[in-house]
């Protein structure tokens, strides 16, 4: 997994747009990570709609790391 991309400086819905655009091109078996300011509740059903899997870790500085993968 690459270094998580920090999206905390962007206003909504830009982080969601970036993640959804990236998700379109995510190859099977790969994963990508993003640092977000909070738990992205509205994004999760959209990711699931695209057949993606996700999990979370804490960034340690108040953020949340979203880790996306395509099975």
């Amino acid at each position: 997994m690459n270094t998580p991309r920090d999206l905390r400086h962007l206003p909504p819905p830009q982080p969601m747009e970036i993640i959804l655009d990236d998700a379109d091109t995510l190859p099977a078996g790969q994963q990508r990570a993003y640092v977000l300011p909070h738990h992205p509740t509205p994004l999760l059903p959209l990711l699931q709609q695209q057949g993606l899997e996700y999990r979370f870790e804490l960034s340690g500085d108040g953020g949340v790391i979203l880790i996306l993968s395509r099975p």
Binding site: R8, Q14, D24, T41, P42, G62
Partner: protein, 428 residues
């Protein structure tokens, strides 16, 4: 993770919060008409016309907008869905609107007990339905973040405020004999601090860091709202049993809100979006919070100054409440439209950003008009004869501009939705 997951099947459809926002604008229009066509204002908190206007603003404008935002936020922050949205709407919406109309009619016509009792019953029924829906959802929700906790406390505040309101109407109608002034003050405190402020602060915990790109409030601040509610319980008891101590307790009651305001100001200072209209609206809301608290404390010290409680109420409801709602709705409504279109699996690049639904300039114009409205309302407290008509006109203008923004967002949403559905049909 403490936040809850929400399935789209259970997410509220856009018309559900939208219908409450629309009703809020409708009540603002009615408020403007009342100011233009109603009797002359008398700046006294016990004047029936002032009480009517206060309830139109508190329940009609702020109450509706907050109910709509609450239903949406319950879903987003706490995962409390609305799988049978139409049924929920029927249980809350008509009774809420009819209740406000009946209550205000009763106030405006010399405290007519039939209308007051009918209004309070309808509002109690509608509020009870909302509380039942929210409490059941929150009970099962794993969410324990600051927003969800704040919503829990705000709902408790709403329950107490509604109960006291119903008892007040029963007292006014002579059905029960409860000391009137302590009950009235308890009602005002729980409605203003227990419900309105708690909910605004809870919503701001999500909306402000998210849209203004500012750091989240420190985790210890989560203890402020519970502390405020405990103090409210204390001052409510004191109002009935130890009235001499109320003056000292009032200082303690405003402390948690003041600390919250300082923390919110620090968040604004650290914001990476200093030009955002939401920042100015939130700043105005915080300023009004402090000024209203000052007026409230001064009103305790100088009970003969009739203008002070009116100023306090105006700054609290029309200043802090309306500024927050104007600022936050200008962010939330376009974001909801965008999110619902995403749900239709719109092709990448088809959807505009949220500014494509409502530009920052439009939001800034609405916020500026609200600030002007507030100034004229403050002037009206001192020179009611000169300012009642201009205030009525500005109220109508504010409602018309807000309605115009709502229509613009809806039309953009509808045309994009048609495009999305067309694209989906083609690709299928």
């Amino acid at each position: 993770m403490t936040q809850a997951w929400l399935s789209y099947e259970a997410a509220p459809p856009p018309w559900l919060p939208g219908s409450f926002f629309t009703a809020g604008i409708g009540w603002l229009l009615a408020l403007g008409l009342m100011l233009l066509l109603g009797p002359d204002l008398s700046i006294n908190r016990y004047d029936p016309f002032i009480i009517t206007l206060t309830h139109m603003l508190a329940l009609g404008v702020l109450g509706n907008c907050m109910l709509g935002a609450l239903l949406q936020l319950l879903a987003v922050a706490a995962g409390v869905g609305t799988p049978r949205a139409l049924s929920l709407w029927w249980r809350i919406y008509p009774a809420w609107q009819a209740g406000i109309a009946s209550l205000c009619w009763g106030f405006a016509h010399g405290f007519m007990s039939f209308y007051l009792l009918a209004g309070a019953s309808l509002l109690g029924m509608s509020g009870g339905m909302l509380l039942w829906h929210a409490a059941r959802g929150l009970w099962h929700s794993p969410a324990r973040d600051m927003t969800s906790q704040g919503i829990r406390l705000a709902l408790l505040g709403l329950a107490v405020a509604l109960s006291c309101g119903m008892l007040l109407t029963l007292t006014l109608s002579g059905k029960v004999a409860i000391p009137f002034l302590p009950l009235l003050h308890t009602h005002v405190l729980w409605a203003g601090l227990g419900y309105l402020l708690s909910l605004l602060l809870a919503v701001s915990q999500t909306v402000i860091p998210m849209f203004l790109i500012s750091p989240a409030a420190p985790s210890w601040s989560a203890r402020l709202l519970p502390a405020q509610l405990r103090l409210l319980v204390g001052i409510s008891m004191a109002l009935f049993f130890l009235p001499a101590s109320v003056r000292y307790l009032a200082w303690a009651v405003i402390l948690p809100a003041s600390i919250h305001a300082v923390l919110a100001l620090r968040q604004l200072y650290a914001s990476r979006r200093r030009q955002d209209p939401l920042l100015r609206s939130w700043l105005l809301a915080l300023s009004c919070l402090w000024l209203a608290q000052c007026c409230g404390l001064l009103a305790l010290a100088y009970p003969q100054a009739a203008v002070l409680p009116v100023l306090c109420g105006l700054l609290w409801l029309g200043g802090m409440g309306l500024a927050s709602i104007v600022g936050m709705l200008a962010k939330i409504a376009p974001f909801l439209a965008w999110l619902h279109l995403q749900r239709l699996q719109a092709p990448r690049g088809m959807l505009p950003s949220t500014h494509g639904f409502l530009s920052e300039q439009s939001a800034a114009r609405l916020a500026a008009l609200h600030a002007l409205w507030l100034l004229s309302a403050l002037a009206c407290c001192y020179w009611p004869a000169c300012w009642q008509q201009p205030l009525g006109g500005l109220t109508l203008l504010l409602a018309t501009l807000a309605a115009g923004h709502g229509v613009a967002i809806y039309r953009r949403y509808r045309s994009l939705r048609a495009l999305c559905l067309q694209q989906r049909a083609v690709s299928n």
